[in-house]
Symmetry: C2
């Protein structure tokens, strides 16, 4: 048995190593590309400096939070309400999550000018640089995730010699560190990027009438910094959390289902390790001949992700067969259900948000009657778009549960649900690469504009960017779907941990029901708080940009330079201030609900928050995406094109959609998992001191 453990650890370590080495090699290749002219280097350097400065200050604030929580967890550990590993596991989770974001940001800010420069030579070359940068991020995330798990596994198993059940129970808690770091990164970064974006657009595009990314706009550098700290660093921390959360919760349920046997926890780890291998292989298929058009590029990208997914689908069957034993082979279909559900949710997202389909085209048409009607239509597109994903997830849950034998052994059924999430995220290395290269291309476009490169360069970066929107839809499908499944798996872990009976958890029990109501409300409150944050921060940017236009003589004529750093600093301060309250709410809510309603109330709360959190995340992301693409569709020349009244109406829609899709929506995804993680960590306290 001991040998099996060593074999398992070695395999996982290999997976981690493979991912990290591949990321490092890819990074080296990216850095070999030239950065272009001095002007481009200078712009890229200021974006880099701004992003670095932001992250440094963000980490300082986060450090205080982690310090306080470490002390609280430490006291709880001393009071025997927690195992002594928890405070440290919490710290490492936060550290690796932050590191994922940091490395992603580093490579993205290094690749932006290089992508712009490569686009001077051709679309394909530009894709190579941008996609490679995305790959660095993708593989860093999965590599660090597996590394963290490996280290703790070795420590707990071989140094502290814990039982398997105690190992997973301790590891679950480092999810809390990763989740809270992810929430800070998503909310802070999301507020930064949207405040800068909205501020730059409202004054620059609407009031002063200068084009996007015009160097005369004082908020233009802040806008580009925002893409990096929000869409890159935020996304990195976020998906690190999703990835680790899904694997760990599956491990924990596996140990429970197989009464402490190692095989239950080995399966998700091996799927993850295999996923790394196949993702690496997949990236080699993202190749296309020079002079390829946009459609060929898109098919090159999807070839890579599809290939990895198919390999995982094929190889999981023997894996399940050998690891769990042939009598459990049906659990394979849970993994398969997860994979298929992820793809389908991605397709549904694409249908509702891409301008190739009816919903977004009709949305663009509703600009005919002004901004009010495009807002109403956009909201209803988003709300309606929740139906398909929820039905897909519902079917996935039922299939995963029942094929795994949940009817006779509920523990196995829940394990099946967790495996579906792992299946969905197994190819994260490559799906994240196709997601993360978007912001790099976006930044490259900004640099091309500011450096005054040829118009064809901007066209190519725009093509890459819009390509990224399509592939990002798939990525979002996986992220949202896996969040719901992982949240359910964590819920199951919680129930297992606190040991309440099914009867106590009856939905007709008023504490469960009241918990459900409160939990369902949390995503609404959270969305409101984060939108308000963006609003407040944007307001201050607007004031500053207006001031600069008024006070800096010669700015509009291009004779004087704007004070970019001032705007970056403003966004930094505003977003750091704004990220604290939502995170505190997310951490405090499960503790307060638990202390008042008890563990049954917490279960209700988690179920309610997962349901409406999923719905709100889909609604807000898709409304935002549809508005964005409706605007781009009009810009492509229909309904009057750029500058028409229709376009102005569409810009209003897009502005409303910005905090929807880039701040509130993704943050809610993290929220629902953080709530579960906090509940698990504080279960001991709640059980000892609850009121009802």
């Amino acid at each position: 048995m001991k040998n099996m453990d060593v074999l398992l650890v070695s395999l996982i370590a290999c997976g981690a190593l493979l991912a990290l080495v591949f990321a490092a090699l890819t990074a080296r290749r990216v850095l070999k590309f030239p950065e272009g002219s001095d002007r481009m280097k200078k712009i890229s350097a200021s974006i880099r400096a701004g992003a670095n400065a932001y992250l440094k200050r963000q980490y300082r604030v986060v450090l205080i939070f982690f310090g306080v929580m470490f002390v609280i967890l430490g006291i709880m550990a001393i009071a025997k309400k927690l195992t002594p590993y928890v405070p440290f596991a919490f710290l490492t989770g936060g550290f690796f999550s932050a590191l994922s974001g940091f490395i992603g940001m580093k490579i993205a800010t290094a690749a932006n000018a290089r992508t712009a420069n490569a686009c001077q030579e051709g679309l394909n070359r530009g894709l190579r640089v941008a996609f490679s940068a995305g790959s660095v991020m993708g593989f860093t995330v999965v590599g660090l995730g597996l590394l963290d798990i490996t280290i703790w596994f070795i420590l707990l198993k071989f140094v502290f010699k814990l039982e398997n059940a105690d190992i997973t129970s301790a590891m679950l808690t480092f999810g809390m560190g990763a989740s809270s770091m992810a929430l800070f990164a998503r909310v802070g970064g999301g507020v930064f990027t949207k405040a800068a974006d909205v501020g730059a657009d409202l004054v620059g595009k609407v009031e002063a009438g200068i084009p996007e990314d015009d160097p005369r706009n004082p908020a233009v550098i802040a806008d580009n910094v925002g893409d990096n700290v929000g869409d890159v660093a935020g996304m990195g921390a976020d998906l690190y959390e999703s990835y680790v959360g899904s694997v760990i919760s599956a491990m924990a349920l596996g140990v429970a289902a197989f009464k402490g046997e190692i095989k239950g926890m080995a399966l998700p780890l091996l799927i993850a390790a295999l996923g790394v291998l196949f993702s690496v292989i997949g990236t080699f298929f993202v190749r296309t001949k020079e002079g390829a058009d946009q459609k060929q590029l898109l098919s090159a990208l999807s070839r890579g992700t599809n290939f990895s997914a198919i390999l995982i689908a094929l190889s999981s069957f023997p894996l399940v067969w050998f690891v769990l034993g042939k009598e459990y082979y049906t659990l394979y279909f849970a993994i398969l259900a997860g994979l298929i559900a992820g793809v389908l949710i991605g397709k549904a997202t694409e249908y509702f948000t891409s301008d190739s389909y009816k919903p977004t085209r009709k949305l663009a048409a509703s600009s005919e009657t002004g901004s009010a009607t495009i807002i109403i239509s956009g909201l209803s597109v988003g709300m309606l778009s929740t139906l398909l994903p929820i039905v897909i997830v519902a079917i996935c849950i039922l299939v995963a549960y029942f094929v795994s034998g949940g009817k006779t052994d509920p523990g196995l059924g829940l394990y099946g649900i967790a495996l579906a999430a792992v299946g969905m995220l197994s190819t994260l290395g490559i799906t994240l690469a196709t997601d993360a290269y978007g912001p790099v291309a976006d930044n490259a476009g900004g640099i091309a504009e500011m450096a005054g490169l040829d118009k064809s360069v901007r066209q190519r970066t725009d093509a890459l960017d819009s390509l990224g929107n399509t592939t990002a839809a798939t990525g979002k499908g996986f992220a949202i779907g896996s969040a719901a499944l992982t949240a359910l798996a964590l819920l199951a872990n919680y129930i297992e941990k606190v040991g309440i009976t099914s009867e106590q958890l009856s939905i007709s029990n008023p504490t469960v029901l009241v918990g459900l109501f409160i939990g369902a409300c949390l995503p609404f409150v959270f969305a409101a708080l984060t939108m308000n944050s963006v609003g407040r921060a944007a307001q201050s940017v607007v004031v500053e940009v207006r001031r600069q236009f008024k006070e800096i003589v010669g700015l509009m004529e291009g004779k004087a330079e704007a004070d970019y750093a001032k705007c970056v600093d403003l966004c930094t301060r505003a977003s750091l201030k704004e990220m604290v309250l939502p995170t505190v709410v997310a951490v405090a809510a499960p503790i307060i609900v638990g202390l008042v309603l008890g563990v049954t109330g917490v279960v209700g709360m988690l179920a309610g928050a997962t349901a409406t959190g999923f719905l709100m995340a889909v609604f807000m992301s898709n409304s935002g995406g549809a508005w964005d693409n409706a605007k781009k569709y009009i810009e492509s020349g229909v309904f009057g094109g750029k500058g028409s009244d229709n376009h102005k109406a569409a810009v209003v829609g897009d502005t409303v959609g910005d905090p929807f899709k880039d701040t509130s929506g993704p943050a809610i995804n993290i929220l629902i998992k953080l709530l579960s993680m906090v509940s698990i960590v504080f279960a001991g306290i709640v059980m000892s001191f609850s009121l009802l």
Copy 2:
């Protein structure tokens, strides 16, 4: 015991009679007021004609639905899946609900010109006419509700000689008739009124630059018709359903809690009958001296409602003591909790939507940076405003459950929750009066404008209207709060009826969980469908109004008359077409979910739909209310006043808010109860044929 039954029936019949006679007398008083000039009579007549024509055609469509459902229920009854009373109970519920709306609309369209005329003499006189019209509607609703219950009680008890449990079980099903009629009325009327409103505003106010209610606007009559068919007839049918639903569900739970004894069902009936008496008394306190200012009028109105509420609060205690017996006196506190919760939710609504408080003022300030920011802020005000009501309802549920002894006898606890809803709605006669007089004042303002009356008249009708907004907030608080509590009571009835164990209902049971997900999604889908309906219908009105402005020579100069009837007809056709799909979805969803997931899935669905339905209803109503009042606040002269850019931004917000607060929000309130009603009626089918 027999004598007790007769006494009970007599008391309830007295309550019904009192309400109906009072309504009739008040109506006669209203009709004695003069209608004013010929021009006013003519305008009022066209509004009346339009509203009548609409309702006639609406009933024709609804009749088809009721016919089809009657046949389906009849077949089910023949197949012994239902008692034979159900198809007939279904019809009467629908009939009385429709009648409530119809009578309300009749009196409102008769009172509009009279109110305008009375406002020529003074504010107080105007209030008297409008409030009397509102009272007619309020007392008609409660009178018909109690009448329906009385008739069925007599039939089932004395003619068919059923047991008490079978009586309430049969009566529950006529809630389905009332709910589906209410949904038709709310959705159809809501689409009509908002399509006309948005159409009139977008072309008239924004494009042609003519003021609101200008007679040159071809959609102006349709707009006024809409107030009557949506805000009056829709609201009447809606609250009939709420009222009857809460009383019946409490009766059913009472019979269950007291093992078939009559006292459990007597209590809610007696509270309702007492509520009628105290509401009548309350209306006499809505008096103020001539020359009273707006503040004094407001206090006159609230004096009436407060007085009724206090009387109910005081008299319920002896009622509980004598009816249930002194050992059950604690159930009184459940009723009290309901009353207090209703008031508090009303206050919370007022805080978030009135321009006397910070949220709406800040919302108005966000118009400084354009329409996008006012939309973002309005959405977040609405989302944030869900927190307080949900906490209030949560506390009310816990208090009602535990004071009623739910800890030892869950049945009693659930009965307590149902009683809280009955307490909340007991004074509906008068709260609805203060709610329903708003649209009458609104219409009066329209007539004053179109008939070219003195400016002071319009100012007075505006004062009445804005007064109505404040009192309506309280009314909404009661409506929304009682909807949630009633839905829970119905859920409890469902669980009781299908007889599943607590264990099967565990939230960790995947069918419950999946049902919860699907249920939580329904309000989102429903909101999307109804908003789309408004959008589509408004679009067609816009096209028609534009056509008339272009084709009718001399219209803008006031030399030719617009073709009002065309717009009314257009709105009628559009709204009738649009009301079918949402209702079909609401009826089909529980059947489909039940057939796939079984009864446990249905319970999950109902819980999920109740939670998010409550949240969405509060969110959408409050966002809409806040936008409306922010616009009015700006119109009062701050932030640049009427015609400024800020005002234009606020108009966009208000236009988005219109379908929010007057179509989707209120319709969701009905949806959650209709889902429960349909589930209860089709429980037999689901239990026999479900898949899982």
